[in-house]
Amino acid sequence: MVKLEMHHIGIVTRSLEVEIQHYENLDYKLEGNIFEDPLQKIRGVFMVNNGTRIELLEGLSETAPTVSFLKKGIQMYHQGFMVSNIDTAIQKFTDDGAILVSSPVPAVAFENRRIAFLYLKNRLLIELIEKEEKR
């Protein structure tokens, strides 16, 4: 049994600084500092409002994975979930027909714990985030 703990909604932006202001107008508060992850080709920041957490992301280049969403006018483009065992969770979703978009890699946003992206059969992109550092 794989337990998923909702962590955030990923929102792609053209400019972090501009969108932070928009979300502050919606009473979201910054959670931590802006981070940069060259592996994911993005910079980002978390914001929270009444228990709901969003991750604002800005591509570092035209080859960033976020670019194709922006071009289609899609802002909310993934949901992130914490899992105890990322390998077991990936196996569960791929057994159910999901496509593993990116294999687990350490992520700057999560103290180098591993993340992976999956594309589900209902065409939803999800991010799995490892709860504990793999040893």
């Binding site: 994975p65 670019v67 194709s68 969403f69 071009k71 289609k72 027909g97 496509i99 593993l100 978009v101 990116s102 294999s103 594309y119 059969k121 065409r123 992109l125």
Partner: protein, 78 residues
């Protein structure tokens, strides 16, 4: 065998919203709309239609419709 080519061309055409032409011309390089998001939609539709599974490496490496057809044939005959 032609049925596979036609079905692949049709799936890609529907996702990219293009006219399905000759399969040799359907490449990621030729169609800017064949971006990473549409690539996932295409591969998911291909998997569902032909009841085959692709590895992450295969999905990442595919550059055109002919490669998809070749992989489908390989898996169906394997």
């Amino acid at each position: 065998m032609v049925e596979i080519e036609n079905a692949v061309a049709q799936i890609i055409a529907e996702v990219l919203e293009i006219n399905a032409g000759s399969i040799e011309q359907i490449t990621r390089e030729h169609y800017a709309a064949w971006d990473s998001l549409n690539h996932l939609q295409i591969m998911m539709a291909i998997e569902e239609t032909f009841k085959v599974r692709f590895t992450p490496g295969e999905i990442a490496d595919i550059r055109n419709a002919e490669e998809i057809v070749a992989l489908i044939r390989e898996k169906l005959n394997g």
